[in-house]
Symmetry: C2
Subunit: 351 residues, 2 copies
DNA sequence: CTGAAAGCGCTTACAG
DNA sequence: CTGAAAGCGCTTACAG
């Protein structure tokens, strides 16, 4: 039934031209809807196209026009719902603008990132939007950017690259989270997950410290437990924090995945989150809302931010100027049910 | 600092040829590592490339060779972790084979699917792997397939298309789930989520009915509560089931997302899953393991299946034969903590 | 309104 | 071992 394997050569504009008894210039003209072509001729050409099952060869056109309608998207971890949402936001914007997204998932592998970047470069992409991997070197990106391909980085800043950046306000977001916890009465607040090799983590930790400082709470380095930015990392990190001599009564987490892992471990230890221990996440992935308990977290409108990064790149591709400063999306605290006053405090009030 | 906007034309093989004082044929030869070129000449050419920052124009080469190194990937819902994992599996296999994946997320929108399919076709993809949207018409796919582009469908079968298919064994998987629940002592078992417009759902419901029949349990249509295949759908569906005059004591769910939604709603109603009510999911997304309680579910090695679908397509692209029968991956029950004997039964035993 | 010609950056026989 | 020439499927001035 299928004719796979016997790949018949596709019809070209000269086939159409011949069948419609016109020149290929004329075919090309009707292809772009030029008004120069007489209606009757256009119809004849269109008919020939239908008859031959013509499909436009965008690659040939791109070659001739010395441009490209392909935009590279390199995503650091597609399996993390946060980045999946980001990817969807980017991808939609690219399609809407009439471009076509070439995707690569690097899975946090910096070598892989270099490879796909090179491949995209060969493919002649019009531009690239990338959420860089952890520990990624900027060399390849800089090189490609120098060759004239616009690049925008997103979500993870690559300071040394000087590349345009679109991200959320990690500092302010984490401040909001910690401020909320302090308002509830917490004093021993841990920071769980992430590594300080990630700019994102450093920015969030800085926000955490800033909120602490505002309330004259001394910063205790033992309270920041690094770990992978995923569920397993959350499990590990919360164990470390709990094992402290003076354990925390609450924690902010590097992201929601870490928070979910931490909550799982806490409940395994029969510590009820939202009563015995308070947790705030970051990202507001859709799982957060459906977690048990529903997770209080920080949102930054991921999908929109993705769309914004793409829009930004599209501007650059269109020849727009490189903006002087990065775009930093505002964050917002979403209160759900994973936090409460510290146990001790309630006890005292009741007494 | 950046030169974006002042896109300098990339160096071509003739620039290299000129600088290295050879013909462009020679440059092309060293490009493909031919042994015909004298070592000294090769070095000179390579040096010129470095000096000019040459980057290969794969598009031009593809045009000339009348082939393509781009493979289309159309995914029905990238935000669903199940499909995200699938996508990663496909994408890796494509990259490993030296191809480059062109991604589109259709978000379950059939019109969008047609659009991206057309776009990929224009782009001259070497082949396409697609997880079709719910209610997707096969026309465009058949048309493209007829034009000689190999296509493999995955996860959602499009019976009327006659296209090669790689998926998991929905029938057998659901049988395993229901069989397990029956073994635990359940008799009133609901099927939650999904619509019968989806082949996947129909196959799973058939497996559900088959297991029931094996144990001479009559099928009660009221027990299958359709709904969206996501968390919200799970919330809705379980409410419907619970409102029945003779409510179920357990449920199998269309997928893990539905299961997670259902569990959330159950716990909202103070019904403890894994004690008062039993739930089995389908897919084994990574969230399943970290859910509260950890979700008993059916796995089909998603990522591997994705890789298999891609490998399959790659064979077709290489000119391999269209296999006579679909590839159906085996499923396996993963027992975690979301199930128990029905309450009544335990009460009786204790009495 | 339509046609002939050149050229985008490659590869591939074909000579030498 | 290396070079000259043709051609992949388009677009774009330029004539007419």
């Amino acid at each position: 039934m299928l004719t796979t394997g016997t790949r018949k050569p596709r019809a070209t504009i000269v086939d159409i031209a011949r069948l419609a008894s016109v020149s290929k210039s004329t075919v090309s003209l009707v292809l772009k809807g030029s008004t120069l072509v007489k209606a009757e001729t256009r119809e004849r050409v269109l008919g020939a196209m239908r008859q031959l099952g013509y499909v436009y060869n965008r690659g040939a056109a791109n070659l001739r026009m010395a441009r490209s309608n392909i935009v590279g998207m390199v995503i650091s971890d597609l399996v993390n719902p946060f980045f999946a949402e980001l990817a969807v936001g980017i991808e939609e914007a690219i399609y809407t603008a009439g471009y076509v997204p070439l995707l690569a998932n690097t899975g946090e592998d910096a070598d892989r990132q270099d490879k796909v970047l090179r491949s995209m470069s060969e493919q002649g992409v019009a531009g690239i939007v990338i959420s860089p991997t952890d520990r990624s070197r900027a060399n390849t990106l800089i090189e490609i950017s120098r060759s004239g391909v616009p690049i925008v980085t997103t979500m993870r800043r690559l300071e040394e690259s000087g590349l345009p950046y679109v991200g959320q306000d990690n500092f302010e977001g984490e401040r909001q989270a910690v401020d909320y916890l302090i308002g509830l009465g917490h004093r021993r607040i841990a920071f769980l997950g992430g590594h300080d090799t990630m700019a994102t983590q450093r920015e969030r930790v800085a926000g955490y410290r800033s909120a602490l400082a505002d309330h004259a709470i001394p910063f205790d380095p033992a309270l920041v437990a690094e770990g992978y930015p995923n569920r397993a990392g959350g499990v590990e990190a919360v164990r470390v924090a709990l094992a402290l001599d003076d354990p925390p009564t609450a924690a902010v987490c590097f992201n929601d995945m870490v928070a979910v892992g931490a909550i799982r471990e806490l409940s395994r230890q029969a510590i009820k989150v939202g009563r015995d221990f308070s947790i705030v996440g970051f990202d507001d992935i859709s799982e957060a809302e459906h977690n048990a308990p529903p997770l209080t977290t920080i949102t930054a409108e991921t999908k929109q931010l993705g769309a914004q990064a793409a829009g930004f790149l599209l501007d650059l591709i269109a020849g727009g100027p490189v903006p002087a400063s990065p775009v930093i999306g505002a964050t917002r605290l979403i209160v759900r049910e994973s936090c409460s006053e510290p146990l001790g405090k309630r006890a005292r009030i009741r007494a």
